[in-house]
């Protein structure tokens, strides 16, 4: 087990990078705790696999050092780093039995056969592979194969970290639930440092203690799932985490009121009252806004946006554009001052109105300037 220190790492696949845009990874400077379950989350091409390969040693970063428990391992090959990795597709030794597959990393390191056996049986038990132990690995179903790949990663008790590169891609949706639970249980039991790369926010959020959100070669936020959800430090996090993503409204703070602007930056008048459309803020938000520079944006999660079918004092009137049934809940899409907002309704909530009134609970309002959260 180890703490992983990424010390000012940057990487470019081009030999002589000229500008910032030549870098697949811009500047990563972080310390990841021992025994934590981390998820690297981001869209395709955000650099998450590059970062993973740097940690595993398959890639040497162009700049910066990487340390395991304070020891510089930047130039060490993967086998010296004491890590395990599970790939997107099952990687198996076809000619070996499941047992031999699991035992392979131990045998290569010269463990005696008794301890190999104990450990393999233990891991097989956890992964429910015991019934297949003496079968050829090649003949098994995709999920069993992927479990073997997982097993080969888990079998060494001394590894610094186990890295997962979108390991559930090939697994049927129904089995994903089960395998994810398995992984989570294993983490609880064995307290390993796990790093899990994925583009699927559900996988990332349910699996990890700490989620590392990457965007265009940078880490935009590291936090617990709850932090990412409640206080996204970057607009991208707000958009990427949560389904649907966070609502954003450009605004200007006037006193303790956030006045909504249309896409040209013009304030919108409310037809009926000839007043600006305003959302009341609290003192903290007001003072944050006063210190900020640049265009302000108000963000609120669909989950927290309150929607009323009838007029409520202080609520803003909006037009309903669409209502989607998700089964467990509904998503309502409304238009407010030309901006599209989404809100989450309970499955039994109202349907069939043309206008709704929106209430913005002040505790859940977040303000952003230059794409960053004000705090």
């Amino acid at each position: 087990m180890a703490q992983i220190n990424l010390n000012k790492i940057a990487h470019s696949y081009i030999k002589h990078p000229t500008g910032d845009s030549d870098y697949a990874l811009k500047l990563i400077d972080n310390i990841w705790d021992d025994g934590g379950a981390y998820a690297l989350l981001g869209p395709s091409g955000c650099g998450k696999t590059t970062l993973l390969n740097i940690i595993s040693g398959l890639l040497v970063p162009s700049k910066g050092r990487i340390l395991f428990d304070g020891k510089d391992v930047t130039d060490m090959p993967p086998e010296k780093r004491n890590i395990a990795q599970v790939f997107q597709f099952p990687v198996l030794y076809d000619t070996m039995s499941v047992f031999d597959n699991l035992a392979f990393p131990l045998r290569n390191r010269g463990f005696d056969e008794d301890s190999v056996k104990t450990r393999v049986l233990e891991i097989a038990e956890i992964l429910e592979l015991t019934p297949f132990l003496y079968k050829k690995a090649a003949g098994l179903a995709a999920d069993a194969k992927q479990k073997i790949s997982l097993g080969r990663g888990l079998v060494r008790s001394d590894v610094a970290a186990i890295l997962f590169d979108e390991p559930l891609t090939v697994i049927d949706p129904n089995l994903k639930w089960q395998l994810r639970c398995k992984l989570k249980e294993i983490h609880e039991q064995l307290k390993l440092t796990l790093i899990y790369v994925t583009h699927d926010q559900v996988e990332a959020l349910t699996f990890a203690d700490k989620v590392v959100v990457m965007y265009e070669g940078e880490i935009v936020q590291i936090g617990t799932p709850q932090e990412l959800f409640e206080n996204p430090s970057h607009k991208f996090v707000g958009y990427f985490i949560g389904s649907p993503g966070m609502n954003f409204l450009p605004c200007k703070v006037d006193g303790n009121i956030a006045v909504i602007q249309d896409s040209h930056g013009v304030m919108i008048k409310n037809n009926t009252s000839a007043q600006s459309l305003g959302i009341p803020l609290n003192d903290t938000l007001t003072s944050l806004a006063s210190k900020a520079s640049g265009q302000l944006e108000l963000g609120i999660r669909p989950l927290y946006l309150k929607v009323h079918p009838t007029e409520v004092k202080g609520a803003l009137k909006a037009k309903v554009k669409a209502l989607q049934d998700h089964g467990n809940f509904k998503i309502i899409t409304v238009i407010l001052a030309g901006h599209t907002l989404r809100a989450r309704l309970d499955e039994d909530d109202f349907t069939g109105t043309e206008d709704v009134w929106l209430e913005f609970p002040v505790d859940w309002i977040r303000l952003f300037a230059k794409e960053r959260l004000l705090k």
């Binding site: 392979f104 990393p105 080969r152």
Partner: protein, 289 residues
């Protein structure tokens, strides 16, 4: 795989069928006809039943040629396959080196087979050949036209020289097709180079190696032009393989009946081998997927 079911596809196959049937079925029928008759000349023939078959089956020279053939094919495979794999492992994986190696490697395959024989005559003659005079020079009298053992060694050397590149190319292609993740996983698992070879490269190459093995076996079984040019089957009959013997009977002695019976037996052996080949191929394909 999932394919469309449609018997109209036969129309697409028809041209191939016609062109191959013309060259394959009519001659084959003729061979069958010849095999049960004694033919003296155009229009002069006598039905003899299965006599030629009995004669050919009892012919000790055929038995010898067959044994020689198996020995030769066996030896050639034993050398070419491991050598081919070894060389393939050494080949550079990318860049101009890979390109150049591939082109050089393929050169011997592009030479007409009788020219291969010629090259090796020129190369091994004790008077003017580099190889021949070199062996002579180190004190071993070398003359493959006189010594059966030396004739065999020369033939095998030539065959290995000629065809190992094919094994190399196949094995190389097989190696290149292994996803990088396997090597990464093996590295992380701490596998030695030998373990990587034994547990990843060799099993993953199984498909192409089967093909290489069978192709080489079949082709060495059919070998004609190279030994014909190099040794002419001699000295004596010591390098007379099946094809050479067959041509000797058919063209040399113009014994059409026995030659036809011989052809059919030869053909049946080949048919069985190709069938096995085909089955293994299909299963190898499944194994890879």
């Amino acid at each position: 795989m999932n394919k469309w079911e449609d018997n109209k596809a036969w129309f697409l196959v028809l041209p191939v069928f016609v062109i191959v049937a013309f060259s394959a079925i009519l001659p084959l029928m003729t061979v069958v006809n010849y095999s049960i008759q004694d033919i003296f000349g155009p229009g002069e023939r006598v039905f003899v039943g299965l006599e030629w078959f009995e004669e050919v089956l009892a012919d000790p020279r055929l038995h010898e040629a067959l044994m020689r053939q198996f020995l030769f094919s066996g030896l050639v495979l034993l050398i070419e396959i491991p050598l081919g794999i070894g060389i393939a492992l050494l080949m550079p994986k990318k860049g101009w080196g890979a390109s150049l190696s591939l082109v050089l490697m393929a050169l011997p395959l592009l030479i007409p087979w009788n020219v291969i024989g010629t090259i090796w005559i020129v190369f091994t003659r004790p008077d003017i050949g580099l190889f021949g005079s070199f062996i002579n020079g180190i004190g071993i009298p070398f003359d493959h036209t006189a010594s059966p053992i030396q004739a065999w060694i020369t033939l095998i050397l030539m065959e290995v020289w000629h065809w190992t590149p094919l094994v190399v190319l196949l094995a190389y292609a097989g190696l290149r097709a292994i996803p990088e993740a396997y090597f990464q996983a093996a590295k992380i698992d701490g596998a030695s180079a030998w373990a990587v070879f034994k547990y990843i490269q060799l099993p993953k190459m199984r498909g192409v190696l089967t093909i290489a093995l069978l192709l080489r076996f079949m082709d060495s079984f059919l070998i004609y032009a190279e030994p014909f040019v190099l040794t002419g089957g001699g000295p004596g009959n010591t390098t007379t393989f099946l094809s050479i013997y067959l041509v000797k009977i058919a063209v040399g002695q113009f014994d059409l009946g026995p030659a036809a019976a011989f052809s059919l037996i030869y053909f049946l052996i080949i048919l069985l081998l190709s069938w096995l080949f085909y089955q293994v191929l299909q299963n190898a394909g499944k194994g890879d997927a």
